[in-house]
């Protein structure tokens, strides 16, 4: 039954489309630097000490901000939702949660590095399809590896108090 669910949900994740990522890469970041710096320095005005202006408005700072903007575009919940769909977003969150608490370094590294790719002019679809893969791995975590059902997840994480959970564990142990 779980295998069927896994296949159906995976197909559902794969067929999701309609996502789009704004064009934001190394080139656009470099293009944004001069006008942004000019605007910020102009607003600061000539009355302010030049070191203060340089401290707050410099190429490194603006570049990092623009680059962070591009990087975080890949983590926009609406983009992820459109890439993986409603079921996929739950399994995607499970994936992120599980690799974090289980300290699966290789997965964490892959997850964080893929988001950089569009910045270096790789097609943004890489990020969308990676999210699909992460969501499918999340499905494995949810359905196969841990043997957890949806109700167990909801009960364990949200609804049941500790007394009821203990009883369930006792029954399981028996």
């Amino acid at each position: 039954m779980k295998i069927i669910l896994f296949v159906v949900f995976s197909l559902f994740i794969i067929v999701q489309k309609g996502w789009e990522l704004p064009t934001c890469n190394f080139t656009t970041t470099l293009q944004a630097l001069p006008p942004r710096l000019f605007a910020q320095i102009t607003i600061d005005g000539s009355n302010q000490h030049v070191l203060v202006t340089r401290f707050f408005h410099n190429k490194v700072g603006v570049f990092l901000q623009e680059a962070s903007h591009c990087y975080l575009d890949g983590l926009d919940p609406n983009f992820i939702f459109k890439s993986v769909g409603p079921i996929g977003i739950i399994s995607w969150l499970t994936f992120v949660y599980r690799i974090s608490i289980d300290k699966k370094i290789h997965f964490i590294f892959a997850f964080l590095s893929i988001l950089i790719l569009p910045f270096f002019n790789f097609p943004p679809s890489i990020v969308a399809y990676s999210h699909k893969i992460f969501a499918i791995i999340g499905l494995i975590f949810l359905l196969v590896t841990k043997n957890l059902t949806w109700s167990e997840i909801i009960n364990n994480h949200l609804l049941l108090n500790s007394r009821v959970r203990k009883k369930i564990e006792e029954i399981k142990n028996k």
Binding site: Q40, I43, Q48, F56, D76, N78
Partner: protein
């Protein structure tokens, strides 16, 4: 109170930081009053002088302003402030700044009660004290900030009430005040109350019949809304997604948009009054802390953690039911959660098993980034914000009205363009127009006393000398005799004043 603060020196220091960040140059920055502030201020002035609002209604339970009917609390809160400081910018913003500071104070016992961890509570309060999101809304008069304070106070009293029943009464009064402070509270209050009742049901059920009194208080607090239901819903109808063709899709998109990292950490709300341009709603250094905190919170199986987590998940619902999204003001409901998560994140780093020197390095790097982020924010707020967002704050009205008021006796009629919106309320506010004289003229918003307000264009139809205030782009041909130009902080021409 004093002895409590002496015993908690760190908390006192945090409150001092919160106070300074909210009160420094409060009257000057944001650079001018927006029309809602001017309306609330003049209505409070009218209540103070005549016990009636600008329309002459005796002590109303909802205030009519620009076609909306707003909850009354924020206007009544301004009355003592205006009595003490006069009708000016500082007086109008004083209650909001004060409640913003007090939010930090009442937030500390809430977290301590729920987590039994003083350090975590102090850190949460510190993050709230320095939060650019909270500072932004504490520095101007907006009801949402009042609601946030009363919700935090209500929750603090609720979780402290399990052994002291009178605190439950204070809690219900506080929730009642929150309900009557802000339009969005009509959705948020039921949600947070249901959550609280669900997670603390065991303790609450023990009160038995005693619960009747707090429930009665809550019921009474709905009377102002129920008695004026049709008018109370005007605002909701104009912004809600009920008008939208794809309601569910819009709701989901709006809900998720409040978790967008770019909205939270890089660019912030696009509405000029809601954030400082050049940064997000939160500091960038909080991003790793919040991620760590969220992981910790999900992994923690305590009731408090589940309460925080469900609060976190339902908090954007009121904002997602309206458009546009993401909206920093309507999602102020989950502002305290970000502070709690960042504090949890610090806790994880400090208590982690990583190598001592590496841990020190992380803490030093985080501190340096935090200092840079905070100083950048203060620079942007005090130096850039008044110039960049001048028109979002209707800059120019104050100077124009004061100038016109000084010379108005030389003219038969004063005509002001309504291009920048609601000029009548600024004339009332800055001239401190006698409310008793205004009440009989209040229904006509295009004319009162010597003043007339016009839209696209104006033609002289009456005899007499006219003083005309036009926006910068209206240049009649042939040009009239200009006697004054009004500029904004960034040097942009706002008004041309001429004689006709």
């Amino acid at each position: 109170m004093t002895s409590f603060l002496i015993r908690n020196r760190l908390l006192a220091l945090i409150i001092l930081i919160a106070f300074l960040l909210r009160f420094y140059q409060l009257g000057q920055n944001p650079p001018s009053l927006n029309w809602d502030e001017a309306s609330n201020g003049y209505n409070a002035y009218s209540i103070l002088k005549t016990a009636r609002d600008e329309y002459g209604n005796f002590l109303p339970l909802t205030f009519r302003a620009f076609g909306d009917y707003n909850p009354a609390l924020s206007v009544y809160t301004l009355v003592p402030s205006i009595a003490a400081f006069g009708l000016n910018e500082f007086a109008v913003r004083f209650p909001s700044a004060l409640l913003g500071t007090l939010s930090v104070l009442v937030f500390f016992p809430l977290i301590r009660k729920l987590t039994n961890n003083t350090k975590l509570s102090l850190l949460s309060s510190l993050f709230l004290a320095i939060s650019p999101w909270h500072i932004q809304f504490s520095r101007y008069d907006h009801e949402a900030n009042f609601m946030l304070f009363f919700v935090i106070l209500g929750l603090t009293c609720l979780v402290s009430a399990f052994k002291k029943f009178p605190l439950l009464l204070i809690s219900s009064v506080s929730f009642s005040l929150a309900l009557n402070s802000y339009q969005g509270a009509k959705i948020w209050l039921p949600l947070i109350l249901l959550l609280s009742i669900f997670w603390f049901r065991k303790e609450l059920i023990k009160f038995g019949a005693k619960l009747f009194l707090p429930l009665l208080i809550l019921f009474i607090s709905t009377i102002p809304i129920i008695s004026n239901l049709q008018n109370s819903l005007i605002r909701a109808n104009s912004v809600s997604l009920l008008q939208n063709d794809h309601k569910f899709k819009t709701f989901i998109t709006g809900y998720l948009s409040h978790f967008a990292p770019n909205f939270l950490f890089i660019s912030g709300d696009t509405i000029g009054r809601h954030s400082v341009s050049g940064m997000g709603q939160l500091y960038l250094f909080e991003l790793p802390l919040i991620i760590l905190g969220l992981i910790k919170l999900i992994g923690t199986k305590t009731r408090s953690a589940k309460f925080f987590l469900t609060w976190f998940l339902v908090a954007p619902i009121p904002a997602a039911l309206a458009t546009p999204t993401p909206h920093a003001l309507r999602s102020i409901t989950f502002l305290p959660l970000w502070s709690i998560l960042a504090a949890f994140g610090i806790g994880i780093i400090v208590n982690s098993n990583i190598q001592k020197n590496f841990k020190k390095l992380i803490i030093v790097l985080l501190t340096l980034t935090a200092l840079y982020n905070i100083s950048s924010y203060l620079h942007l707020y005090y130096n850039h914000y008044p110039k960049e967002k001048a028109l979002d704050w209707q800059v120019g009205y104050e100077e124009m009205v004061k100038y016109v008021d000084n010379i108005k006796n030389n003219y038969d009629t004063i005509v002001v363009s309504n291009f920048y919106g609601r000029p009548y309320i600024y004339v009332l506010f800055y001239t401190r127009f006698n409310p008793k004289l205004y009440h009989p003229q209040s229904q006509n918003k295009t004319k009162f006393d010597k003043y007339e307000f016009f839209g696209e264009s104006w033609e002289k139809k009456t005899q007499g000398k006219v003083l005309l205030v036009r926006p910068d782009w209206q240049k009649p041909d042939p040009p009239p005799k200009y006697i004054k130009y009004i500029y904004s902080e960034n040097g942009q021409l706002v008004f041309r004043i001429s004689e006709e």
